[in-house]
C-alpha cells in the first residue's frame, strides 16, 4: 500500500531543497514560508509526476498547487490519486 502523504513528504525531502525536516511539517504548513523556492517547486512537480505516474495539467501548474502537503494531496486527488493506493 502506498501512502500518498508519505510519498509527498519523501519527494519534498529529496527535491524540495528545504532547510527543514519535512517529516515533521503539518499538512497545512506553508511550504514556501518553510523554504521551498519557486525554482525548487519545479523539481518537486516533476518528481511528483514521476512518483505517482501522473501529469499535472496546465491549470495546476501554479505555485498554489504546491503551497502545502494538503494542497499537493488535493491536486493529486483530482488526478485520481487516493490517500492510500495499492
Amino acid at each position: 500500500m502506498i501512502n500518498t502523504i508519505d510519498t509527498i513528504r519523501e519527494v519534498l525531502s529529496s527535491h524540495g531543497q528545504m532547510p527543514v525536516d519535512v517529516s515533521v511539517l503539518s499538512l497545512t504548513a506553508d511550504l514556501y514560508q518553510q523554504g521551498l523556492t519557486s525554482h525548487a517547486s519545479v523539481n518537486v512537480m516533476l518528481a511528483l509526476e514521476d512518483a505517482f505516474e501522473v501529469e499535472f495539467p496546465d491549470a495546476l501548474l501554479r505555485k498554489s498547487t504546491f503551497e502545502s502537503i494538503a494542497a499537493i494531496a488535493a491536486a493529486l486527488e483530482t488526478l485520481g490519486i487516493e490517500e492510500m493506493q495499492d
Partner: protein
Amino acid sequence: MQTHEFRASLLDAGLLVNSGGDGIFQRSFTFESIVRGVESYASNAGDAPANQRFFFAPVMPLATLVSSGYAHSFPNLMGVVSSFAGSDRELPAFLGKLDTDDHWMSELTASDVALSSAACHPLFSNFSHQSIPEEGLLYEIQGVCFRHEPSIDPARMQSFRQHEFVYLGTSDGALAHRDKWIELGSDLLRELGLDVQVVVANDPFFGRAGRILANGQIEKELKFELTAPISSDAPGAIASGNYHEDHMGRVFDITILAGGPMHSACFGLGLDRITLALIYAHGTDVSQWPRDVRALLSISNSTTGPS
C-alpha cells in the same frame, strides 16, 4: 504587413543582410545609425551616475549563467563557448575529424565562457558576497545578448542589443524604479511614433514545469512588456520592466547594509527590436521619416553612414 513581407523589404532595402543562419543578420550603417540614435535618446533620459554606465562584452563567465539561474530556467536558449584544448599530439586526429566527421564538435572542450544571457546578469556577479547601500545603486548597461532561437522573423534575432537601466537595493526602491521606467519608457517610445501598449508578461521558462514559474510571474505582475508592431501588425515586446524580488540578491549573495538580501529591478530596451519597430512604422527609407522622429534620434538626412 506580414512578417515575411517585412523581412523581404528589409533585405531589399539593404538595411539587413542575412548572414547564412536564421536569426543572424549583418546590419547596415543606416540600420546601426537608428540603433545608436535610440541608444542616445534613451541614455539621455537616464540618471545613473557617470561612473556607473557601462558597455559589457558579448560574453561573460560561464559561472554567471548558472548563478543567475538562467541555465536552470532557459537551458534551450543559452549559448556556451567550446574550444580545442589539445596539444600538438592531439592535433592530427582533430584535423582528420574536421575534414571527415560532421560531429567534430565532440572533440572540443567546454571553456569557462558563455554568451551573455541578459545585459544585467554580469553586473550582479560584480556584487557577489557584498553589501550595497540602502539608498540603492543605479546602473546603465548595454550588452549584446544571445538567445538560441533561430527564426526567420527578424524580430527574433539570436544576437541582439539590450540597453538597461538597473536598480539594486530595497524592494520599494526596485518597484519604484521599474514602474518609473515603464511609464518613462512608454512616453519616450511613443514620442518616436510607436504605438506602445503595456502588458503583464512572463519570461519563456523552459518546458511544462516552467509554466509554474511563468504563472507565478504573471500572478505577481513582476514583468511588464512594452509592445508594438515589430515585423507585423501583431505587437511584440520592444522593452520590458522586470522586478526580480530578491532572486538576484539570493543567488548572487548580495545584501543591503541594513540587512537582508538585495532586491533589484531592470528596465531593458531591445535596441534592435525598437529599430525594426521604427522601420515598420515609418518605412525603410529613413530620409522619409517624420522630421521630429529623426531629430529625436539625431539622424541626419544622409542615409549612407552614421550621423
